[in-house]
């Protein structure tokens, strides 16, 4: 192993997109056997930098040096051949192919020119064994049949099996629960020990503390600061946003602010939910915690009519509310902000205003004036967007040009226009930078203050504990515990995992 040179070194990288300077003179390196954390707000340039490293983009200026040798990757394959593997934030698995086929995508083992399926499955099984016996993922399973966490693990196995010298992990824990995170952290440690250089991109400070040797913070396409040690989380956050975050979470609701029951679910269930009973009141934010697949999203979707309840009594403000379609739920005053904005909320080719007004228009008469619905007019929507501080060159521009946080706020505006009784947030801050997160939290609280009941599903435990007035925990499709404000992470985790988890 050559320790004189860093495993990779990026020198003075500059990259522009039409109208945007994405990276300005950025230098970055990673040595063998270290974890170099890369932090920064969304849009700070982290992903662009990594796409240059992996050969997806070509830099306008600067150079990429691998093992002391300057390289110009023109294709991702060149980067992979040079020993650089990237685990992307967005899943890059093919749902219709098997686990083994995904792991060996584009580099299937062959014998006499033909793919050796048996060897491929065996190799895949070996790569998956890194996660221990807990995740028995069969290599011949079609990926679509796996749950989300297993899919993420396959994704990681894919990068690891490349036997790369450099592994870039772009928010690898975004879809993992705490227990699965631990498996991943153990794996990172193993890789580090075996001399792999790891670039670890994350928003989560505890992960940096837990794993990193060095930290680089990007801000607005430039290196804001580089620490050769792991500093206090506050220092990193300060460097990312340029100010202190005293009021990150909003004040909880005072008892008198909590009003009547809005949603009541009694002994409800469907194929993924069993015997669920709870109430949501006006003015409160209730967080739903649990492992991936515990049924939190399924519950939200059941309330919203997307995969309806098949049994139980559900009432909304006293009226029966077992909805069979989102439209029906929305008409009754339920709103839902999905976790995957791009796939489930945004209409990317339409303007910011169009995105904001979509639901208002959907509930109005088909032949009604699109710019003056009974719920909101185009002018009023623009005012609302301005109030929410949605930043866009123009509200008439396509929403795809906006940052994640601004897109999320535009989607919030979509629901605000309807003044819903109950608003469901799923992973409200996924892929949103620290600064914008605080804005979303305050927005949620303001809504609650105005009398909306808020249900929040999140995998970010500090977020759940920091934002919610109550926390409900789910496991295997059932509600297993309820905590009032002030519960500890340990309490919630214990409830979420059950006793078996303690043993594991």
């Amino acid at each position: 192993m050559n320790t004189k040179h860093p495993a990779i070194e990026m020198r003075g990288i500059t990259k522009s997109f039409p109208g945007v300077k994405a990276l300005k003179n950025v230098s970055f390196s990673a040595h063998c056997g270290e974890v170099h954390a890369l932090a920064g707000e969304n849009g700070a340039g982290k992903s662009t930098l990594m796409k240059i490293l992996s050969g997806i983009y070509r830099p306008d200026g600067g150079s990429v040096v691998v093992n002391g040798e300057e390289r110009h990757f023109t294709h991702p394959l060149a980067a992979i051949r040079a020993g650089i593997a990237v685990i992307y934030q967005e899943f890059s698995l093919l749902p219709e192919r098997t686990v083994a086929q995904n792991i060996f995508l584009g580099r299937e083992p062959t014998r006499r020119g033909l793919i050796d399926h048996k060897a491929m499955n065996d190799e895949a099984r070996r790569a998956l064994a890194l996660f221990g016996s807990a995740h028995r993922i069969e290599p011949s399973t079609v990926v679509a049949d796996l749950d989300v966490a297993s899919q993420q693990l396959v994704e990681i196995a894919k990068a690891v099996s490349l036997e790369a010298k450099v592994i870039v992990m772009d928010e690898p824990t975004a879809a993992l629960n705490e227990a699965e995170c631990e498996v991943l952290f153990g794996l990172v440690d193993t890789l580090k020990k075996s001399g792999v250089a790891i670039v670890y991109i994350t928003h989560r400070m505890p992960e940096i503390t837990r794993l990193a040797n060095r930290v680089t913070v990007l801000k607005d396409g430039e290196v804001a600061v580089r620490f050769d040690h792991v500093p206090e989380p506050e220092a990193i956050v300060r460097a990312m946003v340029g100010r202190d975050l005293g009021d990150f979470y909003a004040e909880p609701a005072a008892p008198q602010e909590i009003g009547d029951v809005v949603l009541s679910v009694h002994n409800a269930g469907n194929e993924r939910l069993k015997n669920v009973s709870f109430e949501l009141r006006a003015g409160e934010i209730v967080g739903f915690s649990g492992l991936q697949g515990a049924g939190r999203v399924a519950l939200a979707q059941a309330i919203f009519g997307l995969s309806p309840f098949t049994e139980g009594e559900i009432t909304l403000s006293g009226k029966p509310a077992r909805f069979t379609s989102p439209r029906e739920a929305i008409r009754a005053g339920v709103g839902l902000l999905p976790g995957d904005r791009k796939a489930e909320a945004l209409v990317l080719m339409q303007s910011v205003v169009d995105n904001g007004m979509l639901t208002s228009r959907a509930l109005s008469g088909l032949s009604g004036n699109a710019n003056a619905t009974p719920f909101v007019s185009a002018e009023a929507m623009e005012k609302l967007l301005r109030e929410l501080d949605v930043r866009a060159g123009s509200f008439a521009q396509d929403i795809k040009a906006l940052s994640g946080g601004n897109q999320q706020k535009a989607i919030v505006a979509r629901w605000l226009a309807l003044a819903p009784r109950l608003l469901i947030f799923i992973e409200p801050t996924r892929g949103i930078d620290v600064n914008a997160k605080a804005g979303i939290y305050h927005l949620m609280r303001d809504l609650a203050r105005k009398g909306t009941a808020i249900m929040m599903v999140s995998s970010d435990l500090p977020e759940v504990l920091g934002v919610s007035d109550r926390v409900l925990v789910m496991r295997n499709g059932e509600l297993v515990a309820a905590f009032s404000r002030g519960a500890s992470e340990a309490d919630v985790m214990l409830a979420a995992t059950g006793e078996e988890a303690v043993a594991a």
Binding site: R327, Q350, R361, L366, N369, A378, A401, R414
Partner: protein, 333 residues
């Protein structure tokens, strides 16, 4: 921020009509072609010249204005051409030269169109068959039905009352001398379709549906209903085009052949995004006029038919390349 919001208020007017960043290039192309036609045939600027041109283009323009609904919603309607055939053949069968029947026959044809659109929409929405296949099946079925109904060749004349829409002109109008009824139909249908697409909730929902069906569904858009309406709009426009074509040229068995692809071509020339989310009724109509203008010009220049095929192919590809290029330049990443 304040400056930005001022900017947004100013551009909002543009936003509401389909947000074309600039004037759609199809209008310039059309203008250039009309000038070229005039040069090759000075008579074109006479009312008979351009009115004949517009009359001839009207069926395709109406068809394109309907097809754009399906394209914006993310699909294709390949059954439009065969529905034209069915309209002409069916009308001739039912009418058999009896003028009195005109109105109810037209009503029956629109009912058939409505049914075809609804079935297309239902098959795509509920049986989840991609529209390419669903409307291909419908196309084959309708062609077969038209032949079955007429046992191979239409068995009735179309009376002048029926042919009025595609053939007659209103005489004695100042400045333009006369106005073909077909053009009047185009103006009325075009306006209705324009208004529905660019001024109403339906239009915005169509765009949302084509852009991201899942997001549309989760935002409360009645996606099945909206999709069915898109197919119905296309089918009804096909019936209208059929009535005009039957009127223009009388009975024949293969009137509609190839019209569906021409309509899709017109929409693409008008800058529509295939697979949904973007498209404009006026630009599609302009696309149809452009296509007709190209054929007319090639006719005037005296190019043989084979060349026309090649030119149509090249223009089709060039239009899409140009649109992609513009979008990439304008769209940032």
């Amino acid at each position: 921020m304040i400056q930005e919001t001022v900017g947004s208020a100013k551009t909002r007017g543009v936003a509401s009509i389909g947000r074309l960043p600039k004037i759609n290039p199809v209008f310039f192309v059309l203008a250039a072609l009309l000038v070229a036609i005039t040069f090759s045939n000075p008579n074109f600027i006479e009312p008979t010249g351009y009115m004949n041109f517009l009359k001839r283009a009207a069926p395709l323009a109406i068809l394109a204005a309907g097809q754009i609904y399906v394209i914006v919603s993310g699909g294709f309607d390949l059954s439009a051409g065969s529905l034209i055939t069915l309209t002409v053949v069916g009308s001739s069968m039912l009418l058999d030269n009896s003028a009195d029947a005109t109105w109810w026959v037209i009503a029956v044809m629109y009912a058939v169109g409505l049914a075809v659109g609804v079935v297309n929409g239902l098959v795509v929405s509920y049986l989840r068959v991609p529209s390419l296949i669903a409307t291909l099946g419908m196309m084959i079925t309708l062609n077969g039905a038209a032949f079955m109904w007429s046992s191979g060749s239409p068995r009735g004349y179309l009376p002048e009352t029926f042919r009025f829409f595609g053939r007659a002109s209103i005489q004695g109008i100042p400045l333009i001398q006369f106005l073909p009824v077909a053009l009047l139909v185009l103006l009325v249908v075009g306006f209705i379709l324009f208004w529905l697409m660019h001024r109403t909730n339906l239009g915005r929902m169509l765009h949302a549906l084509g852009d991201n069906p899942r997001a549309a569904q989760m935002s409360g858009v009645p996606i099945e209903r909206v999709r069915i309406i898109a197919f119905v709009a296309s089918s009804l426009s096909a019936v209208t085009a059929g009535i005009l074509l039957g009127g223009f040229a009388g009975v024949s068995t293969d009137v509609g052949v190839g019209y569906e692809l021409q309509a899709i071509t017109a929409c693409v020339i008008g800058g529509a995004q295939l697979l949904g989310g973007r498209g404009s009724v006026p630009a599609s109509i302009a696309g149809a006029l452009t296509l007709t203008a190209i054929f007319t010009l090639l006719n005037f220049i005296g190019l043989p038919k084979p060349t026309r095929d090649v030119v149509q192919g090249l223009i089709l590809i060039a239009a899409v390349v140009l649109a992609t290029y513009r979008r990439n330049r304008a769209g940032g990443t």
